[in-house]
Symmetry: D4
Subunit: 251 residues, 8 copies
Amino acid sequence: MDQQELLRILEAVRAGEVSSAKAIERLKHLPFEDLGFAKVDHHRALRQGFAEVILGQGKTPGQVAEIVRAMVRRKDGRQNILVTRANPKIFAAVKRVNRTAKMHPLSGVITIERSREILGKGTILVVSAGTSDIPVAEEALLTAQMMGNPVEHLYDVGVAGIHRLLEHREKLTHARVIICVAGMEGALPSVVGGLVPVPVIAVPTSTGYGASFGGVAALLGMLNSCASNVTVVNIDNGFGAACVASCINRL
Amino acid sequence: MDQQELLRILEAVRAGEVSSAKAIERLKHLPFEDLGFAKVDHHRALRQGFAEVILGQGKTPGQVAEIVRAMVRRKDGRQNILVTRANPKIFAAVKRVNRTAKMHPLSGVITIERSREILGKGTILVVSAGTSDIPVAEEALLTAQMMGNPVEHLYDVGVAGIHRLLEHREKLTHARVIICVAGMEGALPSVVGGLVPVPVIAVPTSTGYGASFGGVAALLGMLNSCASNVTVVNIDNGFGAACVASCINRL
Amino acid sequence: MDQQELLRILEAVRAGEVSSAKAIERLKHLPFEDLGFAKVDHHRALRQGFAEVILGQGKTPGQVAEIVRAMVRRKDGRQNILVTRANPKIFAAVKRVNRTAKMHPLSGVITIERSREILGKGTILVVSAGTSDIPVAEEALLTAQMMGNPVEHLYDVGVAGIHRLLEHREKLTHARVIICVAGMEGALPSVVGGLVPVPVIAVPTSTGYGASFGGVAALLGMLNSCASNVTVVNIDNGFGAACVASCINRL
Amino acid sequence: MDQQELLRILEAVRAGEVSSAKAIERLKHLPFEDLGFAKVDHHRALRQGFAEVILGQGKTPGQVAEIVRAMVRRKDGRQNILVTRANPKIFAAVKRVNRTAKMHPLSGVITIERSREILGKGTILVVSAGTSDIPVAEEALLTAQMMGNPVEHLYDVGVAGIHRLLEHREKLTHARVIICVAGMEGALPSVVGGLVPVPVIAVPTSTGYGASFGGVAALLGMLNSCASNVTVVNIDNGFGAACVASCINRL
Amino acid sequence: MDQQELLRILEAVRAGEVSSAKAIERLKHLPFEDLGFAKVDHHRALRQGFAEVILGQGKTPGQVAEIVRAMVRRKDGRQNILVTRANPKIFAAVKRVNRTAKMHPLSGVITIERSREILGKGTILVVSAGTSDIPVAEEALLTAQMMGNPVEHLYDVGVAGIHRLLEHREKLTHARVIICVAGMEGALPSVVGGLVPVPVIAVPTSTGYGASFGGVAALLGMLNSCASNVTVVNIDNGFGAACVASCINRL
Amino acid sequence: MDQQELLRILEAVRAGEVSSAKAIERLKHLPFEDLGFAKVDHHRALRQGFAEVILGQGKTPGQVAEIVRAMVRRKDGRQNILVTRANPKIFAAVKRVNRTAKMHPLSGVITIERSREILGKGTILVVSAGTSDIPVAEEALLTAQMMGNPVEHLYDVGVAGIHRLLEHREKLTHARVIICVAGMEGALPSVVGGLVPVPVIAVPTSTGYGASFGGVAALLGMLNSCASNVTVVNIDNGFGAACVASCINRL
Amino acid sequence: MDQQELLRILEAVRAGEVSSAKAIERLKHLPFEDLGFAKVDHHRALRQGFAEVILGQGKTPGQVAEIVRAMVRRKDGRQNILVTRANPKIFAAVKRVNRTAKMHPLSGVITIERSREILGKGTILVVSAGTSDIPVAEEALLTAQMMGNPVEHLYDVGVAGIHRLLEHREKLTHARVIICVAGMEGALPSVVGGLVPVPVIAVPTSTGYGASFGGVAALLGMLNSCASNVTVVNIDNGFGAACVASCINRL
Amino acid sequence: MDQQELLRILEAVRAGEVSSAKAIERLKHLPFEDLGFAKVDHHRALRQGFAEVILGQGKTPGQVAEIVRAMVRRKDGRQNILVTRANPKIFAAVKRVNRTAKMHPLSGVITIERSREILGKGTILVVSAGTSDIPVAEEALLTAQMMGNPVEHLYDVGVAGIHRLLEHREKLTHARVIICVAGMEGALPSVVGGLVPVPVIAVPTSTGYGASFGGVAALLGMLNSCASNVTVVNIDNGFGAACVASCINRL
């Protein structure tokens, strides 16, 4: 129910077709957000505005395929479709539903591109430190892309070989938002943050062993970053970083 | 040295006044950022562009006053001046240097307003959960303001009284960036994030006792936020949240 | 031995059939709770009063089936039987013992319903945040039901879409005890606790990844809840939450 | 605004005094809870129904006294007033406002008793392990009492002298809700929980040193309790335990 | 009440002076341990058998002095008296009650020696690593001594100067029980345990800084000791180690 | 080389057959412990005195069998042989080497009994809380037995059913050393320690889930035990507890 | 681009072939390290100087083989090749590329020796505590060897049998750098550090169970070492320790 | 006793003045290290070779002064004297003993320079990130200097302003050992390690707040450094880092 419906109720009251008491009763049982007082569900709106997303993890291939089928059927939906943390079996099932589905094996992301509309105002650059951070970086990259952002990436520029990063300052300077993916000591966002004036979304990865504690070392490093334009999302949360970056890039 | 200086060296080479070898030697010893190849120190630039900031903690009143005096003297500097984590003694010393200095006792922030230029494109809204979160919220608010952003605030809207937050949805919807300050379970950013389409910078506070572990509970809550537009900064880092928010608000 | 038996011993003493020394000797070796001084084993009584429970985890299908057979055989036992954390093999074995056994695959709970007697005074409502919290929620729901409580549930009402929860306030208000199951930031109990005057039993789940640390983030969030009617049980302990809720619901 | 006000608006619509569009506009800006659809603020109601509570910690004596004065002035308020985590200076200030204020130095609680109405249906028993747990136990006891519950207590019954606890089983059996306060290994709630059929609210205390980690050892012990009628609140949260217990005791 | 009293009741029953029902009633209300079925309170017995102990920490000088006065007054008590974690003010108060009281400032232990009876069968040796471990070592030493054990000590024999320890192997070999006090890496018990066939009670101390985490490093080191005759007590718990050692030394 | 050998060297010096310089040279290269100054390797002596032990975990069936063969061959060795943390494949291999080998599947212990000599002075009692603690309890029991101790056990006496423990006080009182195995909240050693005057070796187990953190909750509970005769070994270390208990039981 | 190229640009400027502005433009886009101002990439140089290293973990056999093939092909490369954390399948693939490849199954290291040139100035000694530490020790040993260092090793010299270590003091004294590998309590480096005047690189291993927390106990022990010549690398990082040791041994 | 003494005993044996049995007896009771078999106490030697060091923390001014007096008196001692973690009172007391004592207030180090002999083969460079790391850096610098090393320092070169570090590559390249002091995210050693081929000793500092956890974030960052020439010492352990660096610099 939108404002139209509220209007109809009030008009019915005005016309004497419905008593005030009955109107109150009907108002009481309406879904809250439908009152039109405020678009409460910005959240869903937000996601829909960007892309349709399915978390593959913990779902059967059949379930994922079913959801994709429903999305594809909807006539008004032309957003891109994204399945994160999928596996080959899920992909096979999705493929049967939609021939254009593409699997990205490094990150386990499936994309169904239905729109190339650019919604972001600038480029989102995904920077990552080591080769083992690439799966998370790719998840971020594909998510940002499917959400309508021009994207670029810069991989394997860890801080122990600082010149490799410095060689690409140009790329860094062109970005409107930077997603910085790093495991181990998680130092990359601090260095990158110091080189650019734009927001840097830091993503710790669970890369490493021993005292990396599954990404905790990187997470703490990033939270304590000495660069003042760095914020942090959860370990391995490439998807989340891209959501925030998209949301900033639309401002 | 700026590009002009590099130009001068090259011109001298061209004019035969300086040999190529000598030129190389001189280039070698120039400060890196001065080469003009790239404005490396965006970091400092970033801060200067916004405001002059002094961390009061760990400095003597005399030291802080001295730095403020130097800032005030500089002819070209018209940025606002901000001293964070100050105390009454520091304030007394700063006051002697500049009569317009103002102390904000809740947050321990000192402000010297020299410019009211608005640099941010929208409003930064600071939302906080409990009364004990206000010091951190105020630090964020004043920092954002001194950095040239229109600011608003919404305090005492904890999630256990959700209607208080919902009453102010209007305010939430007007913000371009939201800073969300909360201790204890740190649930506020998730709820706020679900109500708005703009980026939410979450600041955990060390409020609480026992299993709050000095803000760790709130920090973890925020890192695991189920709202996809939430990023996180360090515990009690109101200043940092405002830096990131400013940096987003200038995009 | 109950008070009758103690009486018999004392009478035998009185009658001179047993010497005082012998009586002491016999008293010494009686099981403590049998002295009738107090019903010490309220604990077992408590469980039996509710339902017969077997923890499937760590037992072989044969062992579980054997215990079920013993329970079913007992003439005086008409309580419901509950096997928690079971698997299909355990179910097959139990099924052979009792045809009415039902498997609930999401939660791994097996139920054998032998009584529909209602023992709780009101409704226990199980609320959960995300779809991945449903297994724990279902364990709580089935346990509460098998223990003789009217139950209702409200799933997928995470705090990032607060309106979905608010739409169902009616349901919340009807409950006498609420079990609130949530992973990630564990914020749901605080919001629910703020909406109702009844006790809320919070169950953190191990849902999530990275900094959720297997449910620790949710656990800490719940322990620091700003709602004053929230208590907490162990991570994933849907069974325990239902026990406490049942115990409250009988008061 | 209550339902009456909504009725008035609708009647005005009906009467043609207000257009439907204007009515929508007015409905939009009403405070949410005032719509009368649901009493959202059960939380505040809950507290008010019990007692007026002020957290002394972090407030100046003047601030606390001011709040107490406001509470005392209100004509319709006859609830008891409770100041938690207060100190002698706060007490002196409160005493000046209300002569009947009483300081309880062990727990730092100030009580102003204005009503002896009994609201709880049974007795709340506060059990504690060591002498150093008494401050937290007393906070729980006084809170429960001020909220209108008959209370009893049983102190210094640690598990290493189990007979002391067993001697008082009578007392345990009379309680409708038990609050169990313990530091160090936090084993008391398990033992107590095994002896009674009623809910046990466990409060870990920060008592101990070394590997007690400020109450974490006790907290973990309680969360892992092998008794199925135990739930847990935050470390040192005697107040919170009493709130939950009161809320259960009113059912 | 001891067995004699139980006997008296039974005899009264036998003699017909007391009815069986009345006897049951009386038995019900007797303190549990008094039934004589078992000396339940071995704990208190244990301590009393050894020494009277008062934990000074958290008590006022007056309180401690009062307890000491009561102990001194009792005619049948000739055990040594021990106050742990005391301070000069407590000592002054105790001194006024008993002139023979002695303060040991390193460990904050006060001793009142009233008996030199040797109750332990062999020597308890207290070994410590660094000079900063001596307070805890001294607490252990004095406790063991006051509990009637011959004691020796061997200080400043850290593992980084292994020869110092080896020079005193003779002393090690003479001990019946060894208490091993060490902070930092807590390696000493492993080395000592490898050199002797007797039990080694390891006491981690909160000595150190940074990654010693207040004794956690030492505690973990000791729990993982590769010597098979090592057990561990809580951080800084010199008193507890001496209790266990005494209890072993009496076997 | 024993003292005899040192004597021989000195005699050779005396006889002029060996120069002093050469003697020094030879003394330098002798194994340290062989100098006879002190039996340094008490550790190995200790173990050999008790039983031959092989840690099965991390060894192939072939390797274990080979070590057993070597042990069995040695003519002077009549100690019992113990393989801990073994599996059926290891057992099959050991069985081929020695027909009398026995597998204990709950604990994964293999025993080869070659001596029934009693070396301990009293009974070692192994007490455990829940059924899932039995594997660790059995490892302790078999180790103690193979090391020549009379052993008894008392299983399933958790603190939430305290009467079950109290019924067996007789057994508790007969033990000279008690090994107390418990997971979850680890409260059992405190209760047992309060009931007996003998040393209690506490073994936390990794039983439990969620906030039991693989035995950490139990470990912390035991380290903070309020009973003064409790010491602690590592999580799941039934073997180690039995070693310490044996070592105490020989005193 | 090396200095030659910079020279060419400057010469072109001098010759008037290139304008100063154009030169600046070209200088701007040159890779940083190529300016010849400084050999930035010492890191890569460092590694190449020592050996070619491939981390096998997380790579397919095909990928590893491909990299090895490329290394072998390069004409100027005569360094040894090292694959760490490999498995039999990787080895099979590498073997097909280079017949001289050798697998070291304990540590999972593959070596291809192409040079026996000694680059280190002294001997690197690898000392380890228990047999389960040998895989990490072997990784360190082989890495050090492949990097051109004379190596020795001393295994199974845990601190609970201190004489075994002392017997080999000679070996300890001959080393120029010592790598000390230990799990459990991690005490070995402290003892070794006390016996030698050379640097000791401590490597904690994830050996152990329960409170060893995957190597954390050993790590903390080493960080708190009371020997002043001990530094620490990450858990299980035998490779890293050998890198540092090599780097010291070349000084 | 040195080898001479052993020789005298053997000669006495040879001369028949001492029996073999008596010789054994005397050998037995000699201090171990005096046997001359090996200079066991390299540790002390190590320190003495460098400087005399007193840890001021935990000692009274009088105690420190007394130790200094003893050091100064010794005729053969010409090493520098170092007091770490001292305060003004300690300094006043030391000053009275030796007029040349110098206090370094930032680090709390007192130095008494008695020798300027250079013992290290190259320069030790101390690099630090922020101004709040300088106290620890200064402790390292002064320790290294007092131990006879040429030292340099490079302060305030945090990674968020990477150009500042790069400007000083020259200095980095001249060092033989680098001590790298950093708090917060602890990223500096990785960047520095990537720029130089020499060993880098990383010192985490307790600088920071919130999720820096007193230096833990920096410590973990350094342990996970992606540069292969980095090792780590304890938090704030500037002294220890300088010891290791000195020890390397003498090789």
